[in-house]
Amino acid sequence: MRLRAVITAAAFVAIAVGAFQPMYLRIFAMNADGLRAAYTELPYRRIPGLRKLLVESGAHMPPGATVALWVPFQEWDGGYGYAFRRAPFLMPDKNVVPIDRINNAQYLVCWHGCPRVIGFATVWRSPEGELMRR
C-alpha cells in the first residue's frame, strides 16, 4: 500500500509538472507593453506591415465597400492564402474578395505597391502599400 502511495504521488507530481504552464507565473514579471505589441503583430509576422496596411487602408474606405487584395504571391498555399485569410478580420465591415474577383471590387489594396491595373487609381499610399479605387 505504502509503495503504491509513493508511486501514485510520483505520478501526480509528473502530471502536475507536465501540465504546468510557467508562462502564467512569468507573465507577472514581463513588460506588458512590449508583449502586447509583439502579440499584436504575431499573427501577421510573415508579411511584415500587412496588419498596419490593412487597418489603415480600411479607414480610407466606406463601410460595406468591396475590396480585392493583392500581394506578390500568386499561389494560395504560397503566401496569398496567408494574407487573404487574415484580411477580413482586419477589415470586418468590408467585403474582401480574392484578386481573381477584382471585377467585383470597388477598391484594391496592395502590399508594397500595386501593379498597373486598368480602371483603378491610387487614393492613398504608405510605406507598407497602396490603396486604389475604381
Binding site: A5, T8, A10, V17, Q21, Y24, R36, P92
Partner: protein, 426 residues
C-alpha cells in the same frame, strides 16, 4: 463577460447554491446569451432589456426563501491555483487573441456578425470564405457578440474573458467533485488543462461544457441538466457532437442505458443549427469528395498519420508518463467505478482519430496543426480520472492529523459508488 457574471449571480439569487452552481450558472448564462442573439434584433437597448426581463422572470420563478451563499472551506493550495488563474487572466487579455483559428474562424465570424448586426449568411456562403468553416456551430462567436453588443464596441483583447470565465467555471465544478486537500490538489493540477492556452478558440468553452456535462453523469446525477451542457458543448464545436455519441455509448457500457432517453436536450440544442446550416448549404470540408476513398487510403496506410502524431505529441512526455502510471495503479477502479468516464474519454479519442482517417486535407498537416489542440479537450477529464481512481492511495502518505479528513473523503467516494450501484440497479 459582465453580462454573463450578472446572469450567473442572478441565477444564484434565484435559489441555486453557491460555488459549483456559480460555474454551472455562468456556462448556462453564456448559452442563453447566444440563444437571445438567435431570436432578438442585435440592438444594445433590446439586448439589455431582454437580459433584465429574463433575470426578473428567473427571480419570480425561483424566489429563494433563504439564498445559500455557503462557500466550501479553502486550502492553501487554492491560493496557488488563484495565482495561476490571475497569471492566465493577464496572459489571455494582454492583446487581442493571436490564435489563427480566432482570426480566421471564431473571432472573424463574431466580428463580422457584430458589424452586420446579425448572422451574415452571405459572408458564410461565399466559396472563397470556406476557410472560416461556415458549418461550425455559432455559440462561441455569438458569446463574443453578446459581449460586444453590451459593451457597444468590438471586444478586442477582452475576447480572452470568455476563456477565463469558462476556465473558472470548469475549475469550480472540478473543485466541488472532491473535498478537502485532494480537491484543492486536483484543481491546482488541472488548472492549466482547463484554462485553454488557445485563447479565443472554441476549445476553452468546449472543455468547460464537457466538464460540466460529464462529471455529474459519473454519478448518474442531474442527467437532464448534464445533457443541456452536452448540447451546449455541441454548439461550441463539432467535436461536441461526437461527445454526445460517446456519452450515449459510455452509458451503455456502464450499464445505464435506461438513462439515455434523458439526454434528449443534448440533441435538441444543436439540432436547429444543424438544420439551418444545411438549409444554407453550409457543408463541412470533411464531407467533400469521396469519403470512402479517403477512409480506405488512410486505413490501409496509417503510417503518415501515426508518424505525425509521434512527431507532434500533445503536451509533455512527463505528463503522459505520470498519467499512464496513475491509471495503471488505479486500473481496477478505471474499469469498474469509473468505466463511464474512461469510456467517454476513450471513445472521444477514437472520434478524433476517425476525423483524421476521413480528412480531405494532407493528414500530416492536419495532425500537426490540430492534434495537440483537440487532445487538450479531454486531457482535463483524463487527468481527473487518473486522480480520482487513486484517492485512497494518497491516504498512506498523509500526516496523522489529516487522516480523519482522508477517511471522510474515502467514505464519501465509497458512499457515492454505492449510490451509483443502487441507481443502476433501480
Amino acid at each position: 463577460m459582465i453580462a454573463a457574471i450578472v446572469t450567473a449571480l442572478l441565477a444564484l439569487l434565484a435559489g441555486l447554491p453557491f460555488s459549483r452552481r456559480i460555474g454551472e450558472a455562468y456556462l448556462l448564462g453564456v448559452g442563453i446569451q447566444a440563444a437571445i442573439l438567435c431570436v432578438l434584433p442585435w440592438s444594445r437597448p433590446m439586448i439589455i432589456t431582454a437580459l433584465f426581463v429574463w433575470s426578473a422572470g428567473l427571480l419570480a420563478w425561483r424566489r429563494p426563501e433563504r439564498p445559500s451563499l455557503h462557500w466550501p472551506s479553502l486550502h492553501w493550495l487554492d491560493l496557488a491555483t488563484l495565482v495561476l488563474i490571475a497569471g492566465y487572466a493577464r496572459f489571455a487579455t494582454l492583446a487581442s487573441p493571436t490564435e489563427i483559428d480566432y482570426i480566421c474562424i471564431w473571432g472573424l465570424k463574431a466580428e463580422r456578425f457584430f458589424f452586420a448586426h446579425g448572422i451574415d449568411w452571405n459572408f458564410l456562403a461565399q466559396p472563397f470564405n470556406a476557410f472560416v468553416h461556415p458549418d461550425y456551430p455559432l455559440l462561441v462567436p455569438l458569446a463574443y457578440d453578446f459581449q460586444a453588443i453590451v459593451g457597444d464596441a468590438w471586444i478586442e483583447r477582452w475576447a480572452g474573458a470568455l476563456n477565463i470565465g469558462c476556465g473558472i467555471a470548469a475549475l469550480l465544478i472540478i473543485r466541488s467533485e472532491l473535498r478537502g486537500w485532494i480537491g484543492a490538489l486536483t484543481a491546482f493540477i488541472l488548472m492549466p488543462l482547463v484554462f485553454s492556452p488557445y485563447v479565443g478558440d472554441a476549445e476553452g468553452p468546449l472543455i468547460a461544457y464537457s466538464v460540466a456535462a460529464i462529471l455529474p453523469l459519473r454519478r448518474r446525477e442531474n442527467v437532464t441538466r448534464s445533457a443541456v451542457f452536452l448540447g451546449l458543448a455541441a454548439s461550441c464545436k463539432n467535436e461536441g457532437l461526437t461527445l454526445i455519441v460517446a456519452v450515449a455509448i459510455a452509458m451503455m457500457i456502464a450499464g445505464a442505458k435506461q438513462l439515455i432517453p434523458k439526454l434528449w436536450p443534448a440533441v435538441a440544442i444543436p439540432l436547429p443549427w444543424l438544420i439551418i446550416s444545411r438549409l444554407h448549404h453550409l457543408h463541412s470540408d470533411f464531407a467533400a469528395g469521396s469519403v470512402m476513398d479517403r477512409i480506405v487510403e488512410h486505413a490501409t496506410n496509417p503510417a503518415p498519420m501515426l508518424q505525425a502524431m509521434a512527431s507532434y505529441p500533445p503536451g509533455r512526455v512527463i505528463f503522459w508518463i505520470g498519467l499512464a502510471a496513475a491509471l495503471a495503479i488505479g486500473w481496477r477502479r478505471v474499469v469498474t467505478d469509473e468505466r463511464f468516464l474512461a469510456s467517454v474519454i476513450g471513445l472521444q479519442l477514437l472520434a478524433f482519430i476517425a476525423a483524421y482517417v476521413i480528412t480531405p486535407h494532407d493528414v500530416s498537416w492536419h495532425v500537426r496543426w490540430s492534434w495537440e489542440r483537440v487532445v487538450l479537450q479531454v486531457t482535463a477529464l483524463l487527468a481527473f480520472l487518473a486522480i480520482v481512481v487513486n484517492v485512497k492511495y494518497l491516504d498512506a502518505l498523509l500526516p496523522h492529523r489529516d487522516h480523519a479528513d482522508a477517511h471522510r473523503l474515502r467514505d464519501s467516494v465509497a458512499s457515492r459508488s454505492a449510490e451509483h450501484s443502487d441507481r443502476i440497479d433501480a
